[in-house]
Amino acid sequence: MRDAVRIVLEDFSQDEEIRALQASSKRMGGIATFLGCARDFSEGREVSEIRFDSYDRMALPEMQKLRQEAIERFALIDARIVHRLGVVKAGDSIVFIAAGAEHRAPALEACRWIIDALKERVPIWKKEITPQGEAWVTPHP
């Protein structure tokens, strides 16, 4: 089975991720996921693609730490985090988070916590490529 935390260049299947998550236990009653996708429009500009830069040495370990912290903090049964790098087109997936718990509340809360923490703590930067030029994305709070 694929690692629960991955940085990938190719697209991935949510169904496969969910199956991998469910494989860890049949006591999972709720699975919350968050999928971040590339938009074709941002801050009033058309976006044709998104490119990434990443401090690899730190990005993957930090994502692994996030998963472990989320599992402990929300008493999750399991969690998975996948982030794409390389070149992503409008509509493509960028990041996928799945959190499985016995009940729905911790699964949903963990999912929210992980994506917020990932944006704050994982050293990845994205640049939007538009017909008018390129621009690094300024993070929103």
């Binding site: 971040g36 401090y55 040495r57 990041v95 944006k119 703590r121 050293p123 990845i124 930067w125 993070p139």
Partner: protein, 79 residues
């Protein structure tokens, strides 16, 4: 030697992704920052986070060791 890495918008403004800085005993994170900042004021204007050897470093008085890896980073925009 201290290896200083840059990524994303900071790398764009520095013009390179890596600079080597001479190490001296007792050197701290702030010394590296202050040594480079005047040469790259635009790039360092974006810096809001630092890491040493792959770990977040919040204390700029952190003492460095020879051959360590320092990164000055702008706010992340992954996810």
């Amino acid at each position: 030697m201290v290896t200083v890495l840059f990524f994303g918008p900071v790398a764009d403004r520095v013009g390179v992704g890596r600079l080597d800085v001479e190490f001296h005993a007792g050197m701290c994170l702030q010394d590296v920052f202050s040594g480079l900042q005047p040469q790259y004021p635009e790039a360092f204007g974006l810096v809001s986070l630092a890491a040493v050897n792959g770990a977040h470093a919040t204390d700029m008085s952190l003492t460095l060791t020879d051959n360590c890896e320092v990164v000055f980073m702008s706010k992340f925009s992954g996810g």
